[in-house]
Structure formats: C-alpha cells, structure tokens
Amino acid sequence: MFVLVVGGGKVGYYLAKELIESGHEVALMEKDRSRARQIAEEIGSIVIAHDGCEGKYLAQAGSNRADVVAAVTGDDEDNLVICQMAKHHFDVPRTIARVNNPKNEALFRHLGVDELISPTRMILGSIEQDIPVHELLHLAALGEGELELIEAHLQSGSPAIGRAPKDLSIPDGCSLFAVIRDGVATPLRPDTVMLEGDKVIAIGKQECQDLLHEQLIGEPEEAHAG
C-alpha cells in the first residue's frame, strides 16, 4: 500500500517508520525543513519538506495514487483540510485524521473524514474507567466510527433499576446486549431485570446516545460535579 503521512512530529515519524518496516510504500510530508532533514537522515529520502496542506505539494507527493492519507499534525484544522483535500480533490479512498479536541470529532465525521483518532478521548476513556461517572462510557468505536460500544453503570437514581429492557424505550438502531453483574457478564434478555450496580453494555449509533442516557443513567443532574 502507498501511505501518505502528513506531519512529521513524533506520531508521524514513528508511523512512517513502522509502515516502512511492514513493507509499505510511504511518503512523509513535514513543512519544517530542519525537522524534515532530521527525519530523512534516519529513515531515508521519503520525506517531502513541504506543507501538506498546500494543494500543489499534496499533488507533488503523489496523493492522487495514495491508498491512505494519514493526517497526524498537531493542529486539528490542518488535519481536517488535509483529509478533505485528499478525499475530495485527490480521490484518496481512505483518510485518517488525528483529532486533538474531542469536540471536533462530530464535525470531522460529518465532513467525510473516514477515520478519527483522538488521543485525548482515548486517555479520557481510560481515566473514566477508574472513576465513578454519571455518564455513558465509550468503550470503542466500531465500523467506521458510526457505531459505539457503550457501557452504562446503573447507579441509584437510574430509571432502569428494577426494570427490564422490554420496559424501556430503547432507541432504534441501538441494542442492549450484555450485563456485567459482580464481575460476571451475561446476555441481557428482554426480560432480564436490571439492578443497581449493573453495568449494561450497549451498541448503537451516536444519535441514540441522548435517549440511551435518559433511559439508563437518568437526567443529567450531576452536570456540575466538576
């Protein structure tokens, strides 16, 4: 595969290096000349010392024949533009963007970026697993980011306690499929009564989350906890 990596920071550098080791064809664009030279000395002449946001240089780098473009600079707006240009102007089949501000994820997805990697959200997710939260916990994004694997920890006040899935209005396109009770995971059936302390695992589209939150967590009364 031919992979065009834009952004020669730590992420771009190690990404390019790993890809080369796995036998892929790689081009790395880094606009800072001295940084570009430094990387070129280490991993060879695949480095293009130009701004990957600039249409002219994206063309020069061969983006029209790239299988994948990975935009991994430290700036969200740059990563968005790189992916949009790659996708819509150079017909690159697969675009991947690093997203630093998790709030930009929705916009990026909406505008057609194929895959989003948000280090901020990953770390948040990891932290959230250790602290009690009154929110839905995002375990993973599935498919091309359309579906999310979600965990809801039923705490006192949850409207789902003492009820079964068949008694709740579960949004369309969303499925509650397992419950973790005392560390044991069992399938969640339509008539399984949920108890306080249960962790309910659901899979569903992003749009379902508000309704799911209402059904499993309750109204967001704790929003001022911070």
Partner: protein
C-alpha cells in the same frame, strides 16, 4: 444583519467598521486581544477573544444563526474550519473563507463555501494595471457544490458533543476584550445569554 468576522486583521477590522457604521450587528472574533486595537474607538459591535475554530467559542460569541460569516484569519485552514463550522453547526447564512492557496480555494468552493483567494485577486489586479493577460486563478468564488458528507448526512451534524467529564468538558475559552481595547468594545457574552454549563 448579524455579521460575524473571525480574524481582526486589516481586512477584518475594516469590514467590521464599515458594517457597524452601516447599522449591522457585528461580532468580531480574534485569538489575540491586541488585534482589536485595529477597531475604531467608535466601534459599537462585540469583540470577542477566542479561537474561531472552536464551536463553543463561536456559540458563546453569539455566532449562532449569523446572516453573514467571514473567516479572515491568516491561516487558510483555520478559515476553512471556522467556515465549515458556521455552515454545518451554526446555521450561518452566507459564509466566506479567505483561502490564499488557489488549489484549496477552488476545492472548497466545490465543497460548498464561498472562497476569497488573495493570490488570484492580486495577480489579476497587477495584470490589469500592466495590461497583461489575467491568470486563470480563482479570486472570489461562489460555492458551486456541497460537501458529500460523511456516513450520516441525513442525521445532520450532532451539535451536542459526546459527553466528556464535567471537569474537562465545559471549560470556557472565550473571554472579553481587555478593557484596554477601544472603550466601546462590548463584553464577550451578553449578560442575558446562558452559558453552556447552565443547561442543567
């Protein structure tokens, strides 16, 4: 009309002054407070310090439902992103992004935003003065298409972000222009406007 201008450089500040004088509601956003020094002391609109590519900042600034949204910072990509936020999330009417790279300027006009390319405009102005042939580079381009969108066009853009821990999710970024700015520069957020953290 409600007119939002992101980027208070020479062009942004001059347009702000003109529209303010003409009686429009003008909101200027810039990440650097000193940029507002370019506004005249008579400026009666709002000057908000903050990142114009941050949806929260734009909302707090009152950019929701702007009739006109101009992204005029020095960064092509910042302008692209601000303009697309305005288009997709803030329901802005007419949106223009300054994009000096001709390739990007053309590409984004095809993706649904009006673009303004200084490179083309200036080259043509020079050519015209010298009586030489004009370039075929874009100047001011009207949108010719719409972005094809991601996987869920029908659902539209989720404007409510996915939940974040409260300690991290609700941080305010916008702040008012410093008192050192022209005296008539109003504060960042109208007092009556609820902040995002008051939704509960």
């Amino acid at each position: 009309m409600k007119i939002v201008i992101v980027g208070c450089g020479r062009v942004g500040a001059s347009l702000a002054e003109v529209y303010d004088t003409a009686g429009h509601e003008v909101i200027v956003v810039d990440s650097v407070t000193s940029a507002f020094d370019r506004l005249p002391s008579t400026f009666g609109g709002s000057a908000i310090r903050g990142d114009g590519t941050d949806e929260d900042v734009l909302r707090r600034a009152g950019a929701d439902g702007a009739d006109v949204f101009l992204a005029l910072t020095e960064g092509d990509n910042r302008n692209v992103m601000a303009a697309q936020l305005a288009n997709e999330a803030l329901g802005a009417g007419r949106v223009i992004a300054k994009i000096n790279d001709p390739v990007r300027a053309t590409a984004y006009a095809e993706l649904g935003i009006a673009t303004l390319c200084r490179t083309g405009l200036m080259m043509d102005a020079v050519a015209e003065y010298l009586g030489l042939p004009k370039t075929d580079l874009p100047g001011m381009l009207a949108p010719t298409g719409h972005h094809p969108g991601g996987h869920h066009d029908d659902a539209g853009l989720r404007t409510t972000p996915l939940p974040l821990p409260n300690s991290l999710g609700g941080a305010a970024v916008a702040s008012s222009a410093s008192p050192a700015s022209p005296s008539s520069v109003s504060s960042a957020v109208p007092a009556s406007q609820p902040t995002a953290t008051q939704e509960v």
